[in-house]
């Protein structure tokens, strides 16, 4: 499908909707075309090669009293398009009025310049030319004595998004992305115990991908978790690895400052605006403008320009530290922060992060570990905190004991319990070094005096 066809479709739909109903206040049309390739590894061998494509359109209509109707399809013939426009209006008519709805965005004069979001090499990548990435993964696993299997993949995708609305907004953006993931299983020859380690890298351009590094990190993770030991209950410091920081700090904060969650008072940070909620080491921002970063965008999924927003500064939750789309912004009487997020044409805009970053500190990893007499590392938990209360109690799936500054045995059946407000206040060290996982950037973080529930009681 050519770009010109998309403009024709948008024009067709908007004229049809205009004619159909005078109750309508505004409309937007979201169009997405995409293609991808994917090579999958199972049992440390290439298993499946795949290519695919899709294109689809969604129509959102909002009446003068704020009621909203939505319809979508990936069939783009005139009959279907006409049907979905009419269905969207029908849905609008049965929806409840919503005085909180103010308007869709107006058109913007200027958009930021963010480089490195589109890589020509990826748009035209042939599957045959991407096999070496999968083979790099396989090689690392094959050459290791303890590794017994690996699943993983290489995938790349190209998408072009068009957004039109009845306020005159008409924008398009094209993006590429590529991903390498590796899940390696290791087995200890003597104890026969097995363990797995997972790692992935997401980039906008192909040249940044490093499959060997990804597989090596997965392998290291897996080995670090072999021959697990139960420990006794204790109260001590917990060091979050970047993965731990993402699951215990970044993801919960991102969920809690989502304006939709916030406005429904389902966030543990309600009533905490402009207040200090953490130690000075807690600095978080949402930055959509980093060149080449996985979470960067020129504009969000309603066409609003992306920005860099400070959320938490020296432990203080900033007054403007919420993420908005046009609906939640209108409800609060502020500008949208450019965080409307759709996932794809099948969803109405919700709210999402761009690049969500915890600022690194100035300590080396050695300095962070060295004073710990007895504590633990938390690398991975399948659990996540309760966003409305901030309570967290979870099983550590990957973690190690720390004794006299040294990393010791991995933990078996060990849990921790803490409220996030206490966790934030108890941060007493943040590393210089950090890792990037897709849209997240996270350092190592030390939290003092946490209740650790061991399995050996």
């Amino acid at each position: 499908m050519e770009d010109s066809d998309i403009y024709t479709i948008a024009d067709f739909c908007s004229k049809l909707i205009e004619k159909e109903n005078s109750e309508i206040k505004c409309t937007d049309i979201y169009f997405e075309k995409s293609n991808y390739i994917n090579i999958e590894i199972e049992e440390n061998s290439i298993k499946n090669s795949e290519t695919g494509e899709d294109n689809g359109v969604s129509i959102r209509v909002i009446s003068k009293n704020g009621s909203l109707g939505f319809a979508y399809s990936n069939k783009l013939d005139r009959i279907t398009l006409e049907k979905i426009c009419k269905t969207a209006i029908k849905m609008m008519k049965v929806a409840t009025p919503d005085p909180d709805f103010k308007n869709l965005p107006n058109s913007f004069k200027n958009y930021p310049v963010v480089n490195g979001l589109f890589d020509k090499n990826l748009k035209y990548l042939e599957i045959e030319d991407s096999i070496n990435y999968a083979e790099d993964l396989i090689e690392i696993c094959k050459d290791d004595e303890m590794a017994i299997s690996q699943s993983g993949n290489f995938a790349s995708g190209y998408s072009k998004i068009f957004i039109f609305n009845s306020n005159g907004l008409s924008v398009s953006r094209k993006e590429t992305s590529c991903i390498i993931s590796s899940n390696i299983i290791v087995k200890d020859k003597i104890s026969k115990e097995t363990s797995s380690g997972y790692e992935r890298q997401i980039e906008r351009s192909l040249s940044k991908l490093n499959a060997i590094n990804v597989a090596n990190l997965a392998l290291e993770d897996a080995k670090q978790n072999l021959n697990r030991k139960k420990i006794k209950n204790m109260k001590g410091p917990v060091i979050l690895t970047p993965k731990g920081t993402i699951s215990l700090i970044l993801r919960p904060v991102a969920a809690a400052i989502n304006a939709d969650t916030f406005q429904y008072k389902r966030s543990f940070l309600v009533d905490k605006r402009s207040k200090k909620i953490g130690s000075d080491y807690l600095n978080i921002e949402d930055n959509g403008l980093i060149h080449g970063a996985a979470g960067s965008q020129i504009f969000d999924d309603e066409g609003v320009p992306c920005k860099n927003k400070k959320i938490l500064e020296n432990g203080k939750f900033l007054k403007n530290g919420l993420l908005h789309n046009s609906y939640t912004a209108g409800k609060e009487g502020v500008e949208s922060t450019g965080n409307a997020s759709r996932g794809s044409y099948i969803s109405i805009p919700s709210i999402g992060i761009t690049n969500f970053i915890m600022k690194p500190g100035d300590l080396t990893l050695e300095e962070i570990f060295k004073d710990i007499k007895e504590g633990i590392i938390l690398n991975y938990t399948g659990d996540s905190p309760n966003i409305s209360t901030g309570d967290f109690s979870g099983l550590i799936l990957h973690g190690n004991l720390i004794q006299n500054g040294e990393v010791k045995e991995p933990l078996n059946e060990t849990m921790i319990g803490i409220n996030l407000m206490d966790l934030f206040q108890n941060i007493d060290a943040v590393s210089k070094e950090y890792r990037v996982y897709g849209a997240f950037q996270a350092p190592w973080v030390r939290i003092n005096s946490v209740n650790i529930i061991g399995g050996a009681n």
Binding site: S45, I46, G52, A71, S73, T87, T194
Partner: protein, 483 residues
């Protein structure tokens, strides 16, 4: 059966041409084309957040050669593009074959030519959108008015109708026509700064009758009642305890912590603790675990529709069937798709499932349950000196390579000297699944047996499932809480 226009294009003539294209150049191919439409009504605090409708067409073509798979996903399945798609999939299969180190064949099975359609007492297309709106409003009002402690309500109604055409190189030609309805309620309560929530859903294969049963009518009230009850619950004290688990919690543990380890793709990839364990004792002798996604099982629960996890055939054209996983404590079978059954030299058992036709079938569960025995709930409680009774779950997770699991329960009650005491919240249970299965000391009778519905995620694909269980008792589980 009335076939959708988009699927009519795939006729005898095209099939003949596809067979000519494939000839003997690949060992196996299949095509799935699926037309899907439905509506979704999403209300929060008695206001509609999203009222939407969709019409989607998906098509995925697979080809296989000597251990290598190729998969081609089309956006617009027309006669020409399907032929090109098959050629692409064949080329991709050859590419995979040239690189793979694991060589095997797909065992031939008998072609199946059949049309299946789920029964609806009230066809979805005959239900006006206004009725659906009123249904959701009814539940939103019920939940909101239940108590002044109710702060937020959320109700989601989703229905869908799908028609899927399946063709393969063995000569199968199957149409599966399913309609589905799901109603989901969530209630948040608040009292003196404490926030609690509860969630329940009703879902099945069938028509609008699914949301008109007594159980469905009570959904919002039940959810609100639970969320209010939790406000006065206390946080538990951690330690090793005897746990009595209800059917919802047990079913989820069986699904998450054990069922996934039975999926033969994970077994082959060395990711399962059950590798090499067929014929071994993996659970206490009273334990029998089954997966049976076939239709016709809802009667035992007095339901006028089919269970949410049910299907006629899986996404590789294999009829759904009853598979015994554990019999009296002994591991008998894994769950298979075409590939894993071919490689392990057993017949396929109908667990090759994909979320949509544009995704590859994986090994997935359907309706996984533990068979009831003879304990009444009263007897289990009376027989327990010191323990905890846990109902429902918030979420859970398992490391499949180690079997280490954790589940967060929604409601828990202290059991002291054979009596049920005060309610507690946010109780988490953890342990090693194979140890836990061996520590089962009581299994409830059929009266305590129930099922629950869910959406299960694996490899980015979400499929509808059910799990079931009676009440059970497990000794020595690590119980954790906040304090």
């Amino acid at each position: 059966m009335e076939l959708s226009d988009d699927l009519k294009k795939i006729d005898e003539n095209l099939i003949k041409q596809l067979n000519q294209i494939a000839n003997d150049k690949v060992e196996y191919w299949d095509i799935r084309a699926e037309v899907n439409n439905g509506t979704s009504l999403d209300f929060t605090n008695q206001k509609s957040k999203e009222i939407s409708s969709f019409e989607i067409i998906n098509c995925g073509i697979r080809a296989f050669k000597n251990g290598g798979w190729g998969f081609s996903v089309l956006k617009d399945p027309q006669r020409e593009s399907i032929k090109i798609g098959l050629q692409k999939a064949m080329k991709l299969a050859k590419l995979s074959e040239s690189l793979t180190k694991i060589k095997f064949n797909i065992a031939r099975n008998d072609p199946l030519i059949e049309e299946y359609k789920s029964k609806s007492k009230k066809n979805l297309e005959d239900i006006d959108i206004d009725n659906k709106i009123n249904l959701v409003k009814y539940h939103e009002e019920n939940a909101s008015n239940y108590s002044s402690y109710v702060k937020n309500t959320h109700t989601l109604y989703m229905d869908g109708h799908s028609q899927t055409l399946f063709l393969n190189s063995f000569g199968s030609n199957i149409i599966q026509d399913l309609s589905l309805v799901r109603l989901f309620c969530m209630v948040f309560t608040n009292k003196n700064g404490t926030t609690q929530s509860s969630v329940n859903s009703v879902a099945g294969v069938g028509g609008y009758e699914i949301v008109e049963t007594e159980k469905a009518n009570n959904l919002s009230k039940k959810t609100a009642k639970e969320a209010v009850e939790l406000l006065d619950a206390k946080s538990p004290v951690g330690g090793k305890l005897t746990v009595i688990a209800d059917s919802k919690l047990t079913g989820t543990i069986i699904h998450e912590a054990f069922g996934h380890a039975c999926e033969a793709d994970l077994v082959l990839n060395n990711e399962s603790i059950l590798k090499g364990m067929i014929g071994n004792k993996v659970a206490s002798e009273q334990v029998t675990i089954v997966d049976n996604p076939s239709m016709g099982q809802a009667e035992q629960f007095n339901l006028p529709y089919e269970l949410f996890g049910s299907y006629f055939v899986d996404d590789e054209g294999i009829p759904s069937q009853k598979t015994i996983i554990i019999e009296n404590g002994i591991l008998k079978n894994y769950l298979h798709n075409l590939e894993t059954s071919s490689r392990m030299g057993v017949p396929p058992n109908g667990h090759g499932r994909a979320s949509v036709s544009s995704e590859r079938p994986q090994v997935r569960m359907g309706f996984t349950y533990i068979e009831p025995k003879d304990w009444s709930l009263e007897d289990i409680i009376e027989d327990t000196k010191n323990g905890i009774l846990c109902k429902d779950f918030q979420y859970g997770y398992t490391d499949p390579t180690t079997g280490n699991f954790q589940f967060k329960c929604r409601f828990s009650y202290k059991i002291k000297d054979g009596e049920k005491k005060e309610i507690m919240r946010d109780v988490s249970l953890s342990g090693m699944i194979l140890e836990a299965l061996n520590e089962i000391s009581a299994i409830g009778n059929r009266k305590t047996f129930n099922y629950s519905v869910g959406i299960c995620g694996k490899g980015g694909q979400r499929v509808r499932v059910c799990d079931g269980a009676p009440y059970i008792r497990i000794e020595d589980i690590t119980v954790g809480g906040l304090s």
